[in-house]
Structure formats: structure tokens, C-alpha cells
Symmetry: C2
Subunit: 296 residues, 2 copies
């Protein structure tokens, strides 16, 4: 399969709009102080590609389920992703002024509001799962997947920003630990929650999980690469922050060319994993191809 950027899933924008509408409706109904609601809406409904909820919806369909059954899980996934962005952007972390081309929440409102809105987004994700999923059994299982992945993601942030590895840990092992947790865990969870909502067989869940793990690793290598090759304007956030902070990244560690080769290798692994699912896996295949070559 050729990795072609024109193979962008045709339904990505429509799915993003559906997820945004679902989130807006749910947020509207939830009693909250109006300034907190406005802060959450600013970050949650501010556009974005919605790659993670797309993975949830399409993983559900790929295992033969009705994607509608995965909408609550997709929305919860986007809330947790947004929580992580809001807290990562705080002055004590990345101190980022821009996100998706708009002022970050602590710049728009205050540091206190960004802290509390992030906290609320995280717990609202679990509330949404409990509120919108009829089966207590399914909701409990999804809460478990989401909580474990969130903790792995937070662990990844600690490995990345407050590293505490044994001194003899090779740089590549450190980098893989960071990526597997920081980006990989949530992408893996997005796919698994979708498959679980679609009542996946054990084999199909394993296929989806293997796909997700490869895509997750690939995603972060692409992100590292974009950060050194794109301008701030192209990215909609301040570029080259990783180099500023002297962080461990793929391009810094193995160079641009080897990073590109790693992306292709992971993309192939992801596609191989999907083979048993047949045509229902096509949207996930196209997304993988596009993620491998995306420019922002």
C-alpha cells in the first residue's frame, strides 16, 4: 500500500463535526458555573482534527459494530485528550501561549481556571461514560480502559518532563518508554474502547490493539518530526519547542531520515495488523496512511 496524503479519510471532517455536536449538547445539559462552562467550551469545542474519537468510532465499525454505539466513548476520549492539552500548556509545564492557533486557557482566563477546567474535563469524561452508556457492565469496562490509559499518559508526561530513569537506561529505551505512555496509551485506548463498544471478539480486539500500538508510536515520531520541520504558522502552535527544552526526540536521536523510515515501518505494522478485519478496516487503513504523511 502506498502512503498517500490524498488518501485522507473522506469522513474525518464529518465525524469531527458529529463528535463536536455531541460534546456541545452534553456540556450544555450539565449544570456548571458559567465561567467554567465557557472555559471548557473554549478548549473542547475549538476545532481540532479529532483523530482519537475518529479512531474510536471507526474501530467500532471495523469489528462489525454500529459506530453510533461508540459515540459516548469517542466523546470521553476527546475530553481526556483535551484535559491533557490544557494541563500540558500550563506555565509549570510547557508554558505554551497558543494551541490550535488560539490562546491557551491560562492565557485567555487564568492559571487557576486552566487547572480547574482541566480537572473538570478529566472527571467529566468518566461522568459522560457513566451517564450515556446504558449497560453498567460496558460503562465499567470503558471507565477501566480510560482510567488506565490516562494514568499511563500521565506517567509518560513524568518520564518526559521529570525524567527519573536508572542512569544506565539507553536513550532509545527512554524514548520508547516516553512515547508508548505519553502518546501511545491514549491512542491504544481510543481504538480499544471502540472495539469494545462494537462487541469485538478476542481476535478482533487483538488486531485493533496491535494496529493502535503501531499507529501510536508512529504518531509521536511524526509529531517530533513536524516540530523540527514546520513553522509556528503552519502548526498553529509554537514550533521547535522540543529543541528549545533539550528534549529527547526521534530526530534528535536517530536523525531525520531514520525517523522517516521508522514511520514507514510502524505504518506497515499497523496495516498488517488490520489484515484479518477485511474491508470494514478501510477507514482505519486510510487514517494510518494519512497520519504517516500529515503535515500538521
Amino acid at each position: 500500500m502506498t502512503l498517500d496524503p490524498t488518501a485522507l479519510p473522506a469522513d474525518l471532517a464529518a465525524a469531527a463535526a458529529e463528535v463536536e455536536a455531541y460534546l456541545a449538547t452534553w456540556l450544555d445539559r450539565r449544570p456548571l458555573p458559567e465561567n467554567l462552562r465557557s472555559a471548557i467550551a473554549h478548549v473542547l469545542l475549538g476545532g481540532g482534527k479529532r483523530v482519537r474519537p475518529y479512531l474510536t468510532l471507526r474501530a467500532c465499525a471495523a469489528v462489525g459494530g454500529d459506530a453510533k454505539r461508540a459515540m459516548a466513548a469517542a466523546a470521553a476520549m476527546e475530553m481526556v485528550h483535551t484535559f491533557s492539552l490544557v494541563h500540558d500548556d500550563l506555565p509549570a509545564m510547557d508554558d505554551a501561549p497558543l494551541r490550535r492557533g488560539r490562546p491557551t486557557l491560562h492565557v485567555r482566563d487564568s492559571e487557576a481556571m486552566a487547572l480547574l477546567a482541566g480537572d473538570a474535563l478529566l472527571s467529566l469524561a468518566f461522568e459522560l461514560l457513566a451517564d450515556r452508556i446504558d449497560s453498567g457492565e460496558l460503562s465499567g469496562s470503558l471507565c477501566g480502559e480510560l482510567a488506565a490509559a490516562t494514568n499511563d499518559m500521565i506517567a509518560g508526561q513524568v518520564y518526559d518532563t521529570l525524567p527519573d530513569f536508572p542512569p544506565d537506561t539507553p536513550p532509545m529505551a527512554r524514548l520508547e518508554t516516553i512515547h508508548r505512555n505519553k502518546t501511545g496509551a491514549l491512542i491504544r485506548c481510543a481504538c480499544r474502547m471502540g472495539a469494545i463498544c462494537g462487541d469485538a471478539s478476542a481476535d478482533s480486539l487483538a488486531s485493533i490493539t496491535a494496529y493502535a500500538e503501531a499507529v501510536g508510536l508512529m504518531f509521536q515520531v511524526v509529531d517530533d518530526l513536524l516540530d523540527v520541520t514546520q513553522t509556528t504558522e503552519q502548526l498553529g502552535k509554537v514550533a521547535d519547542r522540543d529543541a528549545d527544552h533539550g528534549k529527547l526526540t526521534y530526530p534528535a536521536l536517530i536523525g531525520l531520515e531514520a525517523s522517516r523510515a521508522e514511520i514507514n515501518r510502524q505504518a506497515q505494522t499497523a496495516l498488517d495488523a488490520l489484515a484479518p478485519l477485511g474491508p470494514p478496516g478501510d477507514p482505519l487503513r486510510r487514517l494510518c496512511g494519512w497520519l504517516a504523511v500529515r503535515t500538521r
Copy 2:
């Protein structure tokens, strides 16, 4: 019933030790970066009265359940309470140097670590519920209770620290909204989760909920009162911070004597609510009496 401080529940310290041991064992088994594990242990295993998990365990017994069945919920409750303390103490919020007589986490480690450890405590609470509770149905229901209460608590923090009430809201209505959310929601949730773990009937759950709502309101009035009447040394945290920040409190609004009367009124409401439960409710009755007169 006389409200007598000597009626401190005899089993409070033992229950606290049991909860602490349970939390320590679970935390030990969960793979985490060692510096994150140490940060979490510093705040989670640093003593404290463990009033909320005690409420969970004793509410379970009060409705006829085996308190052991409520241990995971009690532990999750303490994690969410601790998350809220860690984030409340941050420089962007209360900027508190001390908690339970020890340095706060952002002072001991860093602001970034306090942010991330708080995030982890919140999501670990949900992971623990999913991990340790056999029934998916029960775990889903507890996740829903805990998530909703956490969001109410966060809303309470926003009402308290970033108030955005309509200008004609009377001060007492503001104060009650703050208290019901900020302190009340979690105390209510602690009791309800225990009762749910004990398979409470609808009537028993209603009794426990009414008890919890009165105790929650009383708890915060006592806290307000202690803050103006106790020294820093007695409290183990810096006293009179509320007055420093010009916050709305019961003593500031209605005076010391009326605040004490309000405490007695809420205590009586709580005891009345427990009447239908009979002797199994005794530990909750004693706790209510002690909370009404506690000095720290």
C-alpha cells in the same frame, strides 16, 4: 443526643490504618515512574483522619452490608479527596506551604510534579474502582457517582475562588452553593458509594443521602469556624487563610454564635435522617457528633 467529643468513634483510627494499608498495597502494584510513585505516596499515605473513607465503610455497614465490600470505594474516595488537596494547594490556587503539618507537594518536589501527581490521583481512583470491583455493573455505578461528585466539587472550587454569580445573588445563597458543591458533594458521594456497595434499599439510600448532606454542610461550617479560632500549630496548616483572602465564610457572614447554632442544627438533621437504620447506624451517629465538636 448530646454532642460529646469523647464520643469519637473508637474504630476511626483502625479504619484509617486499614484504608492506608489498602492504598499502599495497591499503589505498590501499579507500575509508575518512581518519582511519581514517591510523590503520590507522600500525599496519599501521609496520615490524615480519613473521614471520607470511614463514611464509605460505615455507610455500607449501616445499610446491612459487609464493610469489606466497600474498601475499594473507600480507597478511591480518599484518592479523589487527596487529588483535590494537592491541586488546591498549588501556587495558582491557595499557594499553601503546609498540609497535615508537612510540606505540600509543590514545595517538596515541584509545581509540575504536584500538577501531574494530582492528575494521577484522580484517574487512579477510577482505575482502582474498575480494577478491584468484580462486578462491572457495580463498578460502572460507582464510577458514575464518583465522577459526578468530583465535578460538583470542582464546580464548588470555581464558585469559591473564581466567583461568577449573578450580581443579585444573596451572600447566603452564594455561600450555600459553594459549600454544597465544594465540600458537600464528596461527603455525600462517600456515604452513597458505601450504601451502594452494601446493596442498600431505596429507602436506606435516601436516609444515608440525607445524613450525608447535613453532615457535609456542617463539616464546612466547622472548618470555617476552626480557621478563625485555631492557631497554625493546632491545625497543621496555616490558619486564618480564608480571612487573608477575603473569602465568604459562615463566621464572616453570620458570626461565631450563629455558626455554632447552624452546626448543631445540621447535626440534628443528620441524626434524624439515620433514625430508620437503627443500631447499625451508630458509628455514623458518633462520627457526626465528633465532627460537630472537633477541634482539628
